[in-house]
């Protein structure tokens, strides 16, 4: 009797462990954990300028990226960012939900998303601070963070939006295309835009990308927002993007033009673009150049700012990259850089990045 009980207990234990194994395997098949981190160094090389004069180390960020497949058609996606050695007790750094949304797949052509998302405009905004996903130390500033070049411009679009989105991938005549549409609260400063909208109308972002060949991808983005604040008025931005890969040579370029139309004052037409050629050597070394340009207003003179970047990206392992580049900032006589000798300055930037 004692023997039978022991046998039964052992059998139950084996069954339980098998069930746990199967459940655990299914659980881990449904969840993917990824992330990235970057450590940076910046030092201004010129005697005067906006950059860092002392040379600073920056524990730039650590992001955890989760993809959870709650069912066959439902995916939850989350990017939690811990930036600049965050320590809330001392009011240092930043914790942020970069995105957190739920996606329901009707088909590959119709995927609905709800939550907080990156605004799907152009190339760099959705890549955001994911340094393993691009060559340079920082994302292209002209379209994304243009105040890094010269002060006084406006953002072509807010970086995030809380709302409803539609994403799809399809094929036309054997050529791939994809699209995104986002209806969101839009930009605002008085309320949390991810909780409450203080505008009478919602913002709309749309983007379509098309691949005419395996080497070329082109895209068009548009952002529209109408603000309740008459001093801001209406913002309409259009963007074009192209990426051309020819063997080891890659060209990436974007152009954006935005019109900000306050109700009682004349509108401002702002233009920005960048061009980035790069060449990937077999040993993992990729030299790159990038020219970023921002024209604050097409109706004013001498208000153009540029950054010219010459850099090297080295792939240490398939997860780790080292980057080193010189940034040369330069501006017209009517820009915030006019006060510096030669109307510009040089800054060295370096980064060690890991993506997993």
């Amino acid at each position: 009797m004692h023997c039978k009980a022991r046998g039964l207990a052992a059998a139950l234990l084996v069954c339980a462990s098998l069930a746990t194994d199967a459940t655990a395997q299914d659980f881990f098949d449904r969840i993917r954990i990824n992330g990235y981190t970057s450590f940076e160094f910046e030092k201004r090389l010129s005697e005067k300028g906006n950059g860092d004069p002392n040379g600073s180390f920056d524990a730039d960020g650590f992001d955890l990226v989760l993809n959870i497949h709650a069912s066959e058609r439902v995916r939850a996606a989350l990017d939690m960012a811990l930036e600049h050695g965050v320590a809330t007790e001392d009011g240092r750094g930043n914790v942020a939900m970069e995105y957190g949304f739920v996606e329901y797949t009707v088909s590959d052509l119709f995927k609905f998303r709800v939550g907080k998302m990156f605004t799907p405009f152009g190339v760099f905004n959705e890549i955001h601070t994911a340094k393993p996903a691009f060559l340079s130390v920082k994302e292209a500033a002209s379209l994304n963070k243009n105040d890094r070049i010269i002060k006084g411009g406006f953002r072509f679009y807010p970086r995030w939006g809380a709302g409803i989105a539609l994403h799809g991938d399809g094929v036309i005549g054997k050529k791939n295309f994809n699209y995104d549409v986002l209806l969101a609260n839009g930009e605002q400063e008085n309320t949390n835009p991810f909780e409450e909208d203080d505008n009478g109308a919602k913002s709309v972002t749309a983007r379509v990308r098309f691949e005419p060949s395996e080497q070329l991808r082109i895209g068009y983005s548009v952002y529209y927002d109408s603000f309740s604040d008459p001093a801001v008025g209406r913002l309409v931005s259009n963007g074009l993007e192209a990426e051309w890969t020819l063997g080891k040579l890659r060209l990436l370029s974007e152009l954006a033009f935005g019109v900000l139309s306050p109700r009682d004052t004349p509108h401002t037409r702002q233009v920005a673009w960048y061009l980035q050629p790069s060449f990937h050597f077999k040993n993992g070394l990729t030299p790159y150049l990038r020219l970023d340009l921002l024209n604050l207003s097409t109706s004013r003179s001498h208000d153009v700012g540029t950054i010219f970047i010459a850099g090297l990206n080295y792939e240490l392992t398939k997860q780790c990259n080292v980057k080193l580049e010189n940034n040369f900032f330069h501006g017209g006589t009517a820009t915030s850089l006019a006060e510096f000798p030669g109307r510009g300055y040089h800054e060295l930037k370096a980064a060690f990045v890991l993506g997993f």
């Binding site: 590959d108 990156f118 955001h128 791939n176």
Partner: protein
Amino acid sequence: MALVRGIPALVAVLAFSGAGFGADKAPYTVVVNTESKLSKISDDDLLRIYLGKKTLWEETGTRIQPALLEEEQQVAQAFLEGAVKKSVSQYRAYWKRLLFSGGGSAPRTFRTSAQVIDFVTRQPGAIGVVESSAADAARVKVLDVTN
């Protein structure tokens, strides 16, 4: 004279054996779960699956879960360059951009073909790329890849 006459025949035999023994045969095989109703897959669909553009088996409404061998392995490299039309570094860069911008996770990678087959056996929506010599028809279904 007989020797000269025999040369074209010898050339023909050699050419035939070259084709027969897989001069153009891919070193990899595409497999799916035995519950799958598929018997073949187009090379376009295969490419779209491994680039995250096709994520649902429309016939069954099952999520596609692609898997392959780790990129360092020659079979994986042959598959990426042949079927996905990207070098390993291009494929890796492509998925880093998609993953970190919220577009979904990259195909799972495994060290051995046996591990890929285990995964495909476990998940009804899975599709895997394994060494041709390792495709176990008793556990998974082998797909023909069509143009």
